[in-house]
């Protein structure tokens, strides 16, 4: 098996995919407004003609490199390229103002590479063992797993839990469109034959994440028609770049702690890179001998947040590969990709499809190392991309979105699906309804329905009693209840604390 894996890894296709993924991810991450979710959904159709391992290595390289790219614009122009780099912006920009911007980027490079690589190693070691859990699951458990994924991502997405769950329920409804698997009856197709097999996942994802982003960018019309050259992009970056070995050893506890936090946050469905970065940052501040420097140009702060956000990437893929529960919005898109490629997450990913899965995981580890090397070589120049005008980027994204959607089935109807989801995605964002639970609902809908309908048959009567007679179901029901109630309880506690503070 390993000979096959190494032959897969060191093929020209995989190496090219790695390089394109790393550089593409860094550039997209550095562009404020564009993010990894959009890039991964946009490039998913490109993977159809590639070997699945090469395609997924490219997508995962984009995922991890986008977080790193986001830190470059955060440090040099105080504009986080991705939300996950917000914690880096304060300290990084302070250092830039002191003429130490290059040193901050150097720290971010080492920290991102360390966090990402360690999360890849965690993925390689934890995922195979965890995947065996899926062998204990039957239809009722799969139904509850789908509900669990939705409740947790819905509960954590955005400020309003109701809107998060509403987005999830909407996605589940969209998942029912098409031919019913049991009765063969058409549901909500309204005469469109192309909807018989349901809503195409990839065009829906491209619409929700890419077209809606183009529309959001269009709101800044005044900025588009009067582009102002971003200050800081022409600054010649001189001085020290990489930290010394002594400094890295001194920061080792910070790097390891932040990696563990990031991996753990990544495993929790719904908690993304921003939470991983802020938690790591806050813990590093508590542990630091110089907490007063945090927010005023602390290299320790940059180290923590950048290690934390990149460690989330590998962590979020663990529940995705083992149980089919994505740990982040990007992981939701990756789940869609796996399903389109005929790879169903679970134990078979580490048995029947082990060659492909291990190639992807080791490729992900290599992507993180390559990201560090490429970062050392080109990071100081990547910042120039923030001056690419929206008037050039937007048409390019629209064309790529349309052709990417068409490429899935060679069917123009899919491009119309992209359009519809584009406008839905835009208004969802305007109404502050998160799109990630909708995509997850659409992805998990068929699994939830099959699980539920089969368990109704298996129950032969009282469904509730049947669910409560299965120990794993009871555990999952408790976990679902906790995942729903915890955000409510923390909101109430925060409200009372605020009232107490005002009194």
């Amino acid at each position: 098996m390993w000979a096959q894996i190494f032959s897969n890894l060191f093929s020209i296709e995989t190496m090219l995919a790695l390089l394109v993924g790393v550089i593409g991810g860094m550039v997209i991450g550095a562009l404020p407004g564009l993010n990894a979710t959009m890039a991964v959904s946009l490039l998913l159709p490109v993977t159809f003609a590639m070997e699945p391992y090469a395609g997924f290595i490219m997508l995962m390289a984009i995922y991890t490199s986008a977080f790193y790219g986001g830190s470059i614009s955060a440090i040099l122009i105080h504009t986080p390229g991705t939300p996950a780099s917000a914690a880096t912006a304060a300290d990084g920009y302070e250092l830039t103002k002191k003429g130490r911007g290059l040193e901050a980027i150097g720290m971010s490079t080492i920290a991102s590479m360390f966090g990402g690589t360690l999360s890849g190693i965690a993925l390689l070691t934890i995922a195979p063992a965890l995947s065996k859990v899926s062998l204990w699951f039957s239809s009722p458990e799969y139904f509850l797993i789908a509900i669990f994924g939705l409740t947790i991502i819905g509960g954590l997405a955005g400020d309003s839990m109701i809107k998060g769950f509403l987005g999830g329920a909407f996605g589940l409804f969209l998942g029912t469109i098409g031919m019913d698997a049991i009765t063969g009856q058409l549901r909500f197709t309204y005469g469109f034959d192309s909807l018989m097999s349901g809503i195409s996942l990839v065009p829906a994802m491209i619409g929700l994440f890419s077209i809606s982003e183009v529309m959001i960018q269009a709101e800044n019309y005044k900025k588009i028609i009067n582009p102002i050259k971003v200050e800081g992009t022409d600054v010649r970056l001189n001085g020290k770049f990489l930290p010394t070995l002594k400094e890295v050893i001194k920061l080792l506890p910070n790097l390891i702690r932040s990696s563990i936090i990031g991996i753990f946050v990544g495993i929790l469905p719904g908690a993304g890179g921003d939470i991983g970065a802020w938690l790591s940052y806050s813990e590093a501040k508590k542990a630091s001998k110089h907490p007063e420097e945090f927010g005023k140009g602390s290299l320790e702060g940059i180290c923590a947040s950048e290690t934390g956000n990149n460690a989330v990437t590998g962590g979020s893929v663990i529940p995705l590969l083992t149980l089919g529960i994505p740990g982040s919005a990007v992981a939701s898109v990756l789940l869609g990709g796996f399903l389109v490629h005929g790879m169903v997450p679970g134990n078979q990913m580490f048995t029947k499809l082990a060659n492909v899965t291990y190639t992807i995981i080791i490729g992900f580890i290599l992507a993180n190392i390559l990201m560090g090397i490429v970062g050392i070589l080109v990071a100081r120049y990547v910042i120039k991309v923030v001056n690419i005008p929206i008037s050039v980027l937007s048409p390019l994204i629209v064309v790529l979105s349309a052709i990417g959607s068409y490429a899935v089935n060679g069917n123009i109807f899919d491009v119309y699906i992209m359009l519809v989801f584009g406008i839905i995605g835009y208004f969802m964002r305007k109404l502050e309804i998160p799109s990630a639970p909708t995509i997850l609902g659409l992805l998990l809908g068929p699994m939830a329905e099959n699980g539920f309908m089969n368990s109704v048959v298996m129950a032969k009567g009282n469904v509730f009693a049947y669910y409560f007679s299965r120990p794993i179901c009871v555990i999952l029901i408790i976990v679902i209840a906790v995942s729903v109630l915890t955000p409510i309880a923390s909101k109430i506690i925060r409200g009372r604390q605020a009232q107490g503070g005002n009194a």
């Binding site: 409804f173 050039v392 048409p395 490429a407 359009l419 835009y426 305007k430 329905e449």
Partner: protein
Amino acid sequence: MELSKLHMDVYTGGIMTAIGLYFFIAACRLSEQASVFPKIVLGVFVLLSLALLVDGIIKTIKGNKESHSIKFEEIKIPLITFAFTTLYVIALNLIGFYIATLIFIPSLALFYRQKSKIIIMCSTLGTVLFIHFLFVVQLKLMLP
């Protein structure tokens, strides 16, 4: 109570409830077995929409203005951009990828007041060649 003072969630909850009820009624027309799961999902959807409506009413009463209403001025340009995109998709089907793209990219760039003709020309030709190379040469896809 003035409509303009209503919290945005009141409108969102109201519209979502109406959409949910419409599809719930449509689900009721399906056969019993095919309608079980859609009815459960749409039932939950309607309940959540009603919860959002009530939440919006409470926020309105409390005078919470954290969520501003959507003004047409704010969404005008995004909607025009969407209209450009829709026309492009229709053109893709009617006149094919190459001509549609050669018209679409300069049109949207000019709408965004991109003044440099060289940038427009390079980005248009670059995109067409890139997509031709990637999808036609590499992926062997027949473009529309």
